[in-house]
């Protein structure tokens, strides 16, 4: 027979009430939100926790990747022929672009030598792989599989042959957080390739969408214009494609135009990117 003390009815056993627990939880959450990203120890704590769950994320990605591979394998012959034709066309276009770029680079180098300016070059640090994409308010962020052990530090730029992708915001030992150029508040100094007009592209936290700020309503900019990095921030190498202008709205009431752009390099369907060293900016 159990002692009387162990058979106390549940009626008299009262722990902390749900309301109090909820209040404590909310207070802890608010404290975490306040320190996350602003305190060094919070960044280290977050990176450590991300590293702990990274193997799980990689494991979860394996079946999805396998399913994608199977899907690709089931592509019909007609689709393959169409893809080959399209790729051949793209290849031809790229060759033409490469020839043009080489000519421009030669011209650019000559002009820089004349001006006694240092030649900026894209210095590749290493190739990295996407582990996990953010969700919700972090949908324009992702985690990569390399961190400080492989030389990655906050502030480094991520690029793809199609253009700039984003910037490392925090680096743990084996993983690092990356904010896309479309992440809310991300500033990317750009210039319009056609006119040389300089501006700052601001991410809006939405996929495939960003905007240019403080563009005068009479500025020479139009839909279809290509935006390239100006290199002024010392993060992104100059002259890399960033985005193209989708729409320009000029309002008689405002002295600034509303310019919406679409990034050149989307991360959809891509897993490999290159980290480049900061250029140091223009003098």
């Amino acid at each position: 027979m159990q002692p009387v003390a162990r058979r106390d009815p549940a009626l008299f056993r009262r722990g902390t009430s749900p309301g109090t627990r909820c209040l404590v939880g909310l207070a802890l959450s608010a404290a975490l939100l306040a320190v996350d990203g602003s305190q060094q120890w919070a960044v280290v704590l977050r990176n450590s926790m991300e590293q702990a769950v990274a193997p799980l994320m990689i494991a979860l990605e394996l079946p999805v990747e396998a399913a994608r591979e199977v899907g690709r394998g089931l592509t019909t012959q007609g689709e393959l022929l169409r893809q080959i034709a399209r790729l051949e066309q793209e290849n031809e276009d790229l060759r033409t672009t490469a020839r043009d770029l080489a000519n421009l680079q030669r011209e650019n180098d000559e002009l820089r030598t004349l001006a006694a300016l240092p030649v900026e070059r894209l210095t590749l640090l290493r190739n990295v792989q996407l582990i996990q994409r953010g969700r919700g308010v972090a949908s324009q962020r992702f985690l990569i599989d390399a961190g400080s052990r492989k030389g990655i530090t906050a502030g480094m730029a991520l690029v793809h042959p199609l253009g700039v992708v984003g910037q490392v915001t925090a680096a743990g030992e084996t993983t690092a957080d990356v904010a896309l150029v479309t992440d809310a508040g991300q500033n990317t100094p750009v210039e319009v390739a056609r006119t040389g007009l300089r501006a700052v592209m601001i991410g809006e936290g939405l996929p495939d969408r960003a905007s240019l700020r403080f563009i005068a309503s009479n500025a020479d900019i139009e839909p279809g214009d290509q935006l390239v990095t100006s290199g002024l921030d010392g993060v992104y190498p100059a002259g890399m494609p960033v985005a193209s202008v989708v729409s320009v709205r000029r309002d008689a009431q405002s002295e600034f135009a509303r310019v919406v752009c679409k990034p050149a390099a989307s991360i959809d369907g891509r897993r490999h990117f290159a980290v480049v060293l900061p250029t140091g900016g223009m003098p």
Binding site: P18, V53, R133, V137, A138, R141, E204
Partner: protein
């Protein structure tokens, strides 16, 4: 002797349900982490939040609010969201669930769905509001569609979890 066996000896029903709660939460978080592409991801419901809501309203032992907070924090880490955002949301949802427990038990299915939609919408708006304070993310249609999809999934989640919490009876030997 492990913790589950101690629980089972004291209260077998609660121990079974604790295991069901832990397993279903783990499975829901795992499913939430599988990426389905940028087109589908913003529309998909937060399964872990649905599971937290179910167990806080239907379980014999309401889900511990602290456990909901822990699951939310794990979600924050895994989905790169600011630390504390989902933790606070899950904790608040669990408390709302516990508070609405009696009302939900007596409510017909359409009313229950409406209530779930309201809870999920409120959660989505709260998440958007905090995001706005942190980085200025504008309101998008996905903030409304994801709770709607979550509400449509609610009957399935309810059915699956109700069955998970019940142990099949063994055939009793003849007297």
């Amino acid at each position: 002797m492990n913790f589950a066996s101690v629980l089972e000896r004291r209260n077998p029903r609660n121990a079974r349900q604790t295991r069901a709660i832990a397993l279903s939460l783990l499975l829901a978080v795992t499913l939430d982490l599988v990426s389905l592409g940028s087109t589908v991801d913003p529309l998909r419901p937060d399964l872990a939040l649905l599971v937290v809501l179910y167990w806080s309203t239907r379980g014999r032992a309401p889900i511990l609010i602290s456990a909901a907070w822990g699951v939310g924090l794990l979600h924050d880490i895994a989905t790169l969201t600011p630390l504390g955002l989902n933790a606070g949301l899950y904790c608040l949802t669990a408390w709302v669930g516990v508070s609405l427990r009696k009302r939900l038990e007596a409510m017909p299915i359409p009313g229950e769905l409406l209530l779930v939609l309201l809870v999920l919408l409120a959660g989505s708006m709260l998440s958007w509001g905090v995001g706005l304070l942190l980085g200025g993310r504008p309101l998008a249609e996905t903030h409304l569609l994801s709770p709607l999809v979550g509400t449509l999934c609610w009957p399935l989640v309810r059915l699956l979890l109700r069955n998970a919490g019940i142990r099949r009876r063994r055939a009793s030997p003849p007297d």
